[in-house]
């Protein structure tokens, strides 16, 4: 085991009854690494991500965060989740709270941090994503891209060791995708550990240290981005990438 490994997945399997989503998947993520998972829709990549912070129960295997096994016990699970941030496709801000309240809720209630300090930090982070002026607004008053940037900040403010991004641009209008991806890219540059599921191949290329291609519930290919995109080893990845470049035309 490498010394700077932060997240380790050992042979996890996910099944709904008799239907298997994936079998015996392994993954190791080093501190500061950005791992991007791609694959056709329905390949199980989002489910895989959701297993990493215990949103989905796993039937086999284990997930280790910082060498500690993530249990399925709800009490311990919420403690682990403080360390794993997650941002979803969309609509996950709390509609009854202002932007600032959305950001401060978890640090104050879960981490028992001082409210003033958290607010100050929240404002700094909002400033960074260009949304400080919206801090007293409600989510419904923001555009999709703005909401998604807030959602990222809401995950960041918990100081997670790993950030999971689940197709966070999939529900956005094209012109809003960039403003969200810019934030993701800057996080990658400052060395955040992230596991990203996305369809945005360009960002994958720009942000990833390592690419993973999942198809049919298996890791079909993985590798360093340039190699991955330029010289895919398997026929399935080649086809997958080709379908993308075709769509992009």
């Amino acid at each position: 085991m490498e010394s700077n490994e932060i997240l380790r997945v050992n042979g996890i399997s996910k099944r709904y009854g008799d239907i298997s989503v994936f079998e015996h998947l392994d993954l190791s993520v080093k501190k500061g690494e950005v791992v991007v998972i791609v694959g056709p829709s329905g390949c199980g990549k989002s489910t895989f991500l959701r297993c990493l912070n215990g949103l989905e129960e796993i039937q086999e295997g284990e997930v280790l965060l910082d060498g500690e096994r993530i249990s399925q016990n709800p009490k311990e699970l919420s403690r682990t989740r403080e360390k794993i941030g997650m941002v979803f496709q969309s609509y996950d801000l709390f509609p009854h709270l202002t932007i600032l309240q959305n950001l401060t809720l978890a640090p104050v209630k879960v981490k028992k941090r001082n409210k003033k300090d958290v607010e100050k930090e929240a404002e700094e982070l909002l400033e960074r994503v260009g949304l400080l002026s919206k801090k007293d607004r409600y989510p419904r008053e923001l555009s999709g891209g703005q909401k998604q940037r807030v959602a990222i900040v809401r995950a960041l403010i918990m100081h997670p060791e790993v950030l999971l991004l689940d197709e966070i641009t999939a529900a956005l209008d094209p012109e809003m995708v960039k403003e969200v991806l810019d934030v993701v890219l800057s996080l990658a540059k400052e060395g955040r550990t992230m596991v990203i599921v996305t369809h945005e191949m360009q960002v994958a290329r720009a942000a990833a240290n390592r690419m993973i291609f999942i198809d049919g519930g298996k890791i079909v290919e993985e590798g360093e981005p340039t190699e991955f995109f330029e010289h895919p080893q398997t026929e399935r990845l080649r086809q997958f990438l080709h379908s993308f470049s075709y769509e992009a035309e």
């Binding site: 996950d92 209630k109 879960v110």
Partner: protein, 222 residues
């Protein structure tokens, strides 16, 4: 046009007191309906197999039976069947609560099932435990959805309580009739003035409440 009757003696006051009787019955029924409806709504959202069928039958009865028929059933029926001489007011509260509970339960169920799963998940992902998720994230949202609808139920309840005169409760319409009767000779046109005023009184009782409900619904829609 018969308005002069209302200036005589304490006639106007009597009308207001009559309306108050109706309002009291509605308020009591609403409180009972909300309390029972919340419990029942949660049970419905849980989708327990046998209970679900029973509750569905209950909702269907409320859906198709006019409150007036229920009122007759309870008021005249219980006297006959069980030999209990139910007071008309009690019968009214029972019937309106029976009706209101069903309405409320359906609203609660709808509100509960209307909270997207992602709200639970993103809350959990932030490390909030189940208890915190409900207290800070889910229940406030449900309450926001429920308050306008519950307020709306109050106006519907007030309107429905006008029926109680049909089982002999002396409420505003009955008082109106009494006033018209008593002044038959001196003000033969009293019926116009009295019923016009009662019309306005009901409107004044219901309209502000339904406006409030609309306002809150708009303000809190996501």
């Amino acid at each position: 046009m018969g308005f002069e009757v209302l200036l005589k003696g304490n006639n106007m006051l009597r009308l207001w007191q009559g309306l108050l009787v109706a309002l009291k019955i509605s308020l009591l029924s609403v409180v009972i309906s909300i309390a029972l409806g919340v419990v029942l709504g949660i049970l419905m959202a849980l989708k327990l197999p046998v209970l679900k069928q029973i509750l569905r039958a209950y909702l269907e009865v409320v859906r198709i039976m006019p409150q007036m028929v229920l009122l007759f059933l309870v008021y005249f029926g219980t006297t006959k069947a069980m030999g209990i001489n139910l007071q008309a007011e009690t019968a009214a509260v029972i019937v309106f609560s029976f009706w209101g509970t069903a309405e409320m339960a359906d609203l609660v169920r709808g509100a509960l099932q209307g909270i997207p799963k992602i709200q639970y998940e993103s809350s959990m992902s932030l490390g909030l435990n189940t208890y915190q998720t409900y207290v800070y994230v889910i229940i406030p949202q449900i309450i926001r959805r429920m308050i306008p609808l519950s307020i709306n139920l109050i106006t519907r309840m007030i309107k429905t309580t006008s029926l109680v005169m049909m089982i002999g409760i002396v409420e505003v319409l009955k008082v109106g009739q009494q006033i018209i009767e008593a002044n038959r000779k001196t003000s033969p046109n009293a019926a116009f003035g009295v019923f016009a005023v009662i019309f306005v009184m009901y409107f004044l009782a219901c309209w502000p409440i339904s406006q409030l409900s609309k306002y809150l619904e708009k303000k809190w829609e996501n």
